[in-house]
Amino acid sequence: MFSLRALRRPPRQVCLVRNYAAKPGAPAPPKLSAKADATVPAVEEPLSSCAPNTVLEGLNYLKDQPPVLALPDEEYPPWLWDTLKTIELVDDGPGGKAEKARLRRENRKRIRDANFMKMQ
C-alpha cells in the first residue's frame, strides 16, 4: 500500500502516546502523531529524515573512497539531535558568558546599522 510517510510532518510534535483507561493485552495504542499509519502498531518515530544506508553525496572526496552511507539513528551521538536548537545562555551575572554574547550581538548590530545608514 502506498506509504503515508510522505504526508508525515516533521517528527516531535507533542507527546506521542495517549493512554486511555487501561487496556491490558490490547495492542499498543496508536500514536497521535501526524503519521496516520494505522497498520503498523507503535513504531518509534525515527529521529532523522535520512533513512539508514542512504548514500551521502560528495563526502567521499578521497580517491577510491567508498561512498559514505548514513548509519541508523542510534549510532549517532545524542547531542547531534539538539544542534538545531539555539543554545540558551543562562545569565551568570556581570562578566559572564551571557553578558558577553549579548554585548557582542548588540555591538555588531550597532555597526551594521551604522554602515547601513552610511550607505543611504
Binding site: P10, P11, L47, S48, S49, C50, T54, L56, E57, G58, L59, N60, Y61, L62, K63, V68, A70, L71, Y76, P77, W79, L80, W81, T83, L84
Partner: protein, 147 residues
C-alpha cells in the same frame, strides 16, 4: 633587532583544484609575483594531493621565505563545497534567509564535521561545535538543515 635582509615571510592563501595546479592563472601570477617558480610548486602540490579526487577545491596556505623558497599546507575542502554536493546544488542562493535552495540532513552535517575535524585549526574543537559552525554555513548558503 634587525630584520634579516629583505621582507619577512609572505603568506598566500589560495584555493586550487586538487591535482590540477598549473602555472596558468590564478596560480601562476599569484606565486610568480612573489618570486616562486610556479612549476615547482605545481609539481609538489599535485604530488601531495594525489590521494584526493581530482578537481576538488583544496585551500592551501603557501609561506614564501625571503630567499624565495616556499612551504605549503593543504587543508580540507571548504564546508560550502561539501554542503553544495550533499544538497545537490551548484551555487548557493543570492538571498540567504529569504530563499532556500536545498536540504541537508543532520547526518550529512555529522559526516562533514568528522571530515573537518581532521584539519589542524579545528582539531581542538568538540565535534558538536564544528557541527554548529557547519549549520551556520548552511544558513548562509540557503540550505535548510533538517533532523
Amino acid at each position: 633587532m634587525s630584520k634579516a635582509a629583505a621582507t619577512k615571510a609572505q603568506v598566500v592563501r589560495i584555493l586550487i583544484a586538487a591535482g590540477k595546479a598549473a602555472p596558468t592563472p590564478p596560480v601562476g601570477p599569484a606565486l610568480g609575483a612573489r618570486g616562486v617558480k610556479s612549476m615547482d610548486f605545481c609539481k609538489e602540490f599535485n604530488a601531495r594531493t594525489a590521494h584526493i579526487t581530482p578537481g576538488v577545491p583544496t585551500p592551501t596556505l603557501i609561506t614564501i621565505q625571503p630567499d624565495r623558497s616556499f612551504t605549503f599546507i593543504t587543508k580540507t575542502p571548504p564546508t560550502a563545497y561539501f554542503l553544495k554536493k550533499a544538497a545537490g546544488i551548484e551555487k548557493g542562493t543570492g538571498r540567504p534567509g529569504h530563499e532556500t535552495v536545498g536540504t541537508v540532513s543532520l547526518k550529512h552535517v555529522y559526516e562533514i564535521a568528522k571530515i573537518k575535524a581532521t584539519d589542524e585549526h579545528l582539531k581542538h574543537l568538540r565535534l558538536e561545535a564544528i557541527a554548529r559552525t557547519i549549520i551556520g554555513t548552511a544558513r548562509t548558503l540557503g540550505v535548510q538543515v533538517v533532523p
